[in-house]
């Protein structure tokens, strides 16, 4: 568990909240404006090729009016996965793109944009119909939103 403490110390000033998804997988809640700085610190500490974004999961919480974006980041030297959570308002979901720092974020960002409508600012490859069939796209529906009628 010392490795998790180590990660926490790296960007401790940005952490708003912390919970645990499951044993040995902590989730750090970070303000959306600090996301890039936090990833930069992780990269500085562990090196250019140590971070691997395995998943970008969006969750639509319609009663609270927010969309959660969870970054599952595998840190290869520590052989451990951490989750970084940012929260954006549902009516204007904008998150800074990580594609310039971690190119592997491409597919995750495109998927989350296509299914939930989260706009990753700075990712010029975002397009509809990445996964969603064209007839659903033509009705301008994001199928994973809770109010979508598909």
């Amino acid at each position: 568990m010392s490795s998790i403490k180590e990660i926490e110390d790296i960007f401790s000033s940005y952490i708003i909240g912390k919970d645990t998804v499951k044993p040995n997988r902590p989730r750090f809640h970070i303000d959306v404006s600090n996301l890039k700085e936090a990833i930069t610190l992780l990269k500085q500490r562990f090196g250019e090729e140590a971070l691997y974004i395995s998943n970008i999961i969006g969750v639509d919480k319609i009663t609270e009016g927010i969309i959660e974006v969870n970054y599952f980041i595998h840190i290869i030297p520590l052989a451990n996965t951490i989750v970084i959570k940012v929260v954006v308002p549902r009516d204007k979901p904008q998150v800074p793109s990580l594609i310039d720092m971690i190119p592997g974020a491409y597919s995750g960002e495109c998927e989350t944009y296509d299914l939930l409508g989260v706009d990753f600012v700075g990712n010029k490859y975002l397009k509809r119909s990445f996964f969603v069939p064209t007839d659903v796209v033509s009705r301008d529906i994001f199928p994973l939103r809770k109010d979508a009628k598909v």
């Binding site: 996964f131 069939p133 659903v136 199928p143």
Partner: protein, 143 residues
């Protein structure tokens, strides 16, 4: 059944959106344990050499276009075997916004279905043999 492929059907395996359950069984069916080469059954390196197309999984709208294109690229005498409940009528994914309502036969003509979720490798091989007229159906059995 054409004699041209009766004793050497080459397979092409295409996953149109399956959960991988049927794919594992199809791959198990072509292992030496079940030894399909005694029937001349081999996996084809390319769709343009294929005789039988094995379709697994619910056909999503995106994969449906590709499935049609693959079928059109197959040469001359060609057959399609739909493996699993999803390829038959959509299975548990029936009615989803991203899948074609109905199974693989809405996109391409299907010659044989293998029911099951997933079917056993023996059943997949038996369906191929029934399709090739190399296995008799028992009197009280329907297919």
């Amino acid at each position: 059944m054409s004699k041209l492929i009766k004793y050497s059907p080459w397979l092409v395996h295409f996953n149109t959106g399956a959960c991988n359950g049927c794919d594992i069984e199809v791959l198990a069916a072509i292992t030496p344990l079940y030894d399909p080469e005694r029937y001349g059954v081999k996996l084809s390196p390319s769709i343009r050499h294929g005789d039988i197309l094995i379709v697994t999984g619910a056909v999503t709208k995106k994969a449906g276009e590709r499935l049609k294109r693959l079928y059109e690229q197959m040469p001359g005498i060609k057959y399609v075997v739909a493996v699993g409940a999803c390829a038959y009528d959509g299975g548990v994914f029936k009615g989803s916004y991203s899948s074609i309502s109905g199974g693989a036969n809405k996109v391409i003509p299907v010659n044989a279905y293998v029911p099951g979720c997933p079917p056993r490798p023996e059943e997949i091989l038996r369906a191929l043999l029934l399709l090739l007229d190399r296995e008799k159906v028992k009197g009280d059995e329907q297919h």
